[in-house]
């Protein structure tokens, strides 16, 4: 009996030894790994985003401090804290509750429920000494001129909706992500690297000790070619007139953009306010649209230099070739009008007075294909490659396009419309700026851009030499100079600025209300430094565009901003 019971004891203990051996020896590494996962946690630390500067090293976007009301996920008095918060901050409790649920990352990381910048409120909250409430100081993105720069610089969001689907795969972060503008295009550079603290936690998720630390890395700074002073000025002028439109100022040689304003705009610093954001999205003026590269409009007469260039390149006309304008033009029973009766016109004169009938004749003589060919060469119908997201390419119609997309033949009437920049043709204001710079810089197609330097690395200038005869460029340029310099030129009011401006006006008819007003040009005519495009959406006429261009250039010139741009 004793033997049997001894064997029983050994057997029983042996079972335990076998199970122990299985767990500790066979699967030991597995359980060891599991135990590490149990107690090791990483608390993410937000990195500072890079700063965006203008050409005079003036910050366009910076990081300022704001306050964040946080609480731990398992705070027992959560309801009390949230009620107190909603009283002091005057925010609906439901919003705080929603934020709380949205922002939970892990049980040991305080959850931010509301971000605010008022120091008084922060002090008020601290004085109340609410148990369970944590006030954190966090960097907040602040745009210096929130309206003037809104579409260009853009805005950021933490863990935006676009990334929230990654949550279920475990991707969680408090990092800010650029949503639009430069913030989005250069997000990888600006964002920096999230840091983290590796901590040891207990079963309740309470931190017991710090094991390691990775410092967050600040994002890289961007140096843009924008000029904040002129940007503000341009925005102010458009805002005073409450005129939807665009003002662009660009260096014709490098493609550096100095001014890019689109009106209406929005306050880039208020974008986290959900109510404000919703109102903006419903706004019929589409304030989020950066019209300079996302708006597609008929160019009207600003397109005429392209037609003139095509004619000269194809040698279809000489400078002496004249057509007669009596105000109407009959073609196959259809009457096309000119805005005035100009009499006999040569090429340069017709550019100066913007005679439609001359260009009807010219267009018919050159033909659609060459016009489309040179328009494409000057960058129409294609992306300019500007360093901003969601650029539109406009529409450059051609006989092939019409057959393919519209299943119709190309008629001579289409050519007539194309000759004066009407019909199917759609361009963005930035494409016009690019086109003008070809005449200014003697035949180079530049890539417009805003950022010239990231941290200390200069970005190269991209431009493409076009196969154009320098003489024909010069002649069309001279015609554009006549637009301003001649008494009867359509933009003669710009002459007394003394800036030697050359350019082209355009009044583009549109089916959606009053005509668009255009002015596109460059100056000084001898040795150009600037390309300017003023576009007024439904601005009635090109004259209004010229008036605005004049106001803008006059003030910029008077303040000396145009002469000393070489300081960079």
């Amino acid at each position: 009996m004793e033997e049997r019971l001894k064997k029983l004891t050994i057997a029983v203990l042996l079972v335990l030894v076998i199970v122990l051996g299985y767990y500790q020896i066979v699967k030991g590494e597995y359980f060891f790994h599991k135990s590490r996962l149990n107690y090791l946690r990483i608390i993410p630390q937000k990195s500072l985003r890079g700063i965006i500067y203008d050409r005079h090293h003036q910050a366009l976007v910076k990081n300022t401090l704001s306050f964040q009301a946080c609480l731990f996920p398992h705070t027992p008095q959560r309801q009390k804290v949230l009620s107190a918060l909603s009283r002091v901050l005057q925010v609906e409790k439901k919003i705080l509750e929603d934020n709380f649920h949205k922002n939970i990352i892990a049980p040991f990381i305080p959850v931010p429920v509301y971000t605010f910048s008022s120091v008084d409120k922060a002090i008020g909250l601290e004085e109340k000494n609410i148990e369970g409430l944590i006030i954190k100081v966090v960097p907040q993105r602040e745009v210096v001129s929130p309206f003037a720069l809104a579409q260009v610089v853009g805005y950021v969001q933490s863990m935006p909706k676009a990334l929230s689907y990654l949550r279920k795969y475990g991707f969680k972060t408090y990092q800010d992500f650029g949503i639009s503008g430069l913030e989005a295009y250069y997000d990888d550079y600006l964002r920096g690297k999230e840091g983290g603290v590796q901590v040891e936690v207990n079963s309740r998720g309470e931190v017991r000790g710090v094991l390691g630390k990775v410092k967050p890395q600040k994002g890289k700074d961007l140096f843009t070619s924008l000029d904040l002073r002129m940007q503000d000025l341009a925005y102010r002028l458009l805002e005073e007139k409450r005129q939807r439109g665009v003002i662009l100022l660009m260096d014709p040689y490098s493609g550096e953009i100095m001014v890019m304003v689109s009106y209406p705009s929005f306050n880039a610093n208020r974008i986290s306010d959900a109510g404000y954001f919703r109102r903006l999205r419903r706004n019929s003026g589409h304030p989020f649209l950066n019209r300079s590269l996302q708006g597609e409009y008929p160019p009207g007469s600003v397109f005429k230099p392209v037609v003139a260039l095509a004619a000269l390149e194809k040698k279809k006309v000489s400078l002496a070739t004249k057509f007669f304008c009596d105000g109407t033009f009959n073609f196959k029973g259809t009457k096309y009008r000119c805005w005035s009766a100009h009499g006999w016109q040569s090429l340069l004169g017709a550019l100066a007075v913007s005679c439609d009938i001359y260009f009807y004749n010219l267009g018919l003589r050159v033909g659609a294909e060459p016009i489309v060919y040179y328009a494409r060469m000057l960058g129409l119908g294609a992306l300019s490659g500007v360093d901003l997201p969601q650029e539109r390419r406009g529409l450059l119609p051609s006989p092939a396009w019409k057959r393919h997309k519209r299943h119709q033949s190309w008629y001579k009437g289409d050519t007539i419309n194309l000759s004066i920049g009407q019909g199917y043709l759609l361009v963005t204001p930035l494409q016009i700026a690019r086109l003008m710079s070809v005449f200014a810089n003697g035949g180079y197609l530049v890539r417009p851009h805003l950022v010239s330097k990231i941290e200390s690395v200069s970005l190269g200038i991209k431009k493409e030499k076009l196969h154009l005869n320098p003489a024909s460029l010069r002649w069309v340029g001279k015609g554009m100079r006549f637009v301003v310099s001649r008494e009867n030129g359509t933009a003669h009011i710009l002459e007394d600025l003394g800036l030697e401006i050359a350019g082209k006006t355009g009044t583009a008819q549109t089916s959606s209300g009053p005509s668009h007003g255009w002015f596109g040009g460059f100056f000084p005519y001898h040795n150009p430094k600037y390309v300017i495009v003023v576009f007024l959406e439904n601005g009635k006429s090109s004259h209004n565009a010229c008036i605005l261009a004049k106001e803008f250039l006059k003030e910029a010139k008077d303040k000396g901003w145009l002469s000393n741009n070489e300081t960079q």
């Binding site: 004793e2 019971l5 051996g21 767990y23 060891f32 590490r36």
Partner: protein
């Protein structure tokens, strides 16, 4: 007289080894945590061990035939306590397992273990005196007579509710019948009877007990609730690997992932901090310990001494196996402590008394 005639030295050495493990593990489990520090459980256990030594001395020195006489009063006393607890529990609207005497809490179900061992020994020592071929098929003497009082005791413990102690009593009874009557027929009758009782027992279980048993089948069914302990204790044991994480370095225990780690789950501390090697050593000590008690049972020529020692052997064996198997997730979680390792006043005292009785039998065995 030589010392080893008076006292079983191997038993004492293995006990001391186990107690060293106990102190190291308890210190490790309790030294940091705010949860327990206010009550200073570690110091309390040292006091309990001191008292245990005193109790051991008393039971070692007295004439153990007094226990033969005392077994019935002790049985009645523990029954009385159990009923008292039941009534108090009714009044306080909730489960109750302990009563307070002179400011010290005391678990009657632990006393019941002692009473059960002694009572069974009394019955079976009388039974052993009957010649073997006569007693073999005596169902009344061998099974029913000891079953009746123990069944009542087990029923009250079961309704406390204390599933662990109930199983201890049931096991003790089966073990005694098996080893002492050696009747297959009787054994079969008992086993089929217990199987018949099982559905009734299941009905009487509290919901949390049922959940524990269900979770045993699949711990991941409720990983943060009832299955949590099982998952975490497996991780603790496994992560110890061969040599362990070292004294005071077991993350599972130090960082509070194991509930009840100073009582029923104390073995996780040993396994995590001392690894497979430490566990083997501890199990070896337990083997020596059990083996010696078994030797004492067959050393003495006194029937009562033999029956008592066998009961003590069975009780410790069951506790050690069920507790460790439970920690390893081989058996469901029932509240059974690990002898001489777990914290707990009542069970410590009962364990030392039982050991004292075994040593007493050893001492007396030289006289028979």
């Amino acid at each position: 007289m030589k010392l080893n005639k008076l006292i079983d030295l191997k038993l004492i050495v293995s006990l001391l080894g186990i107690l060293i493990f106990s102190l190291l593990s308890l210190y490790s489990a309790l030294h940091t945590q705010g949860e327990f520090s206010g009550r200073n459980i570690f110091l309390r256990q040292i006091i309990w061990l001191g008292l245990g030594g005193v109790v051991l001395g008393i039971f070692y020195l007295l004439d153990y035939y007094i226990l033969y006489e005392l077994s019935i009063p002790l049985y009645l006393l523990s029954l009385l306590f159990l009923i008292a607890v039941e009534v108090l529990g009714r009044i306080r609207m909730g489960a109750q397992r302990w009563i307070e005497i002179f400011g010290v809490t005391f678990q009657p179900s632990e006393l019941a273990k002692l009473a059960a061992v002694l009572l069974l020994a009394r019955f079976f020592s009388g039974y052993l005196k009957i010649p073997y071929h006569n007693r073999r098929h005596d169902f009344w003497e061998g099974v029913v007579k000891p079953f009746l009082p123990l069944g009542i005791l087990a029923f009250f413990i079961f309704t406390q509710p204390d599933l662990g102690t109930t199983l201890v009593i049931v096991f003790l009874f089966i073990f005694m019948v098996f080893t002492l009557s050696r009747s297959r027929k009787n054994a079969l009758i008992i086993i089929s009877f217990i199987i018949l009782l099982m559905p009734l027992g299941w009905k009487l279980l509290k919901p949390y007990q049922k959940q524990r048993l269900m979770v045993f089948l699949n711990p991941y069914q409720d990983p943060l609730g009832a299955g949590y302990t099982m998952i975490q204790s497996k991780i603790a044991v496994g992560s110890g690997r061969l040599w362990g994480k070292g004294f005071l370095a077991g993350t599972q225990n130090q960082l509070n992932f194991i509930p009840a780690r100073h009582t029923d789950f104390i073995f996780t501390v040993v396994a995590e901090e001392w690894g497979f090697a430490g566990c083997l050593l501890l199990l070896f000590l337990y083997y020596v310990f059990l083996r010696r008690i078994l030797a004492i049972a067959f050393m003495t020529k006194d029937e009562f001494g033999c029956a008592v020692s066998l009961g003590i052997f069975a009780l410790f064996l069951f506790h050690i196996f069920v507790n460790i198997a439970m920690v390893l997730g081989v058996l469901p979680v029932v509240g059974i402590p690990l002898p001489f390792l777990s914290y707990g006043g009542s069970f410590t005292l009962v364990s030392f008394s039982l050991l004292g009785i075994a040593l007493n039998v050893y001492r007396k065995s030289n006289y028979f």
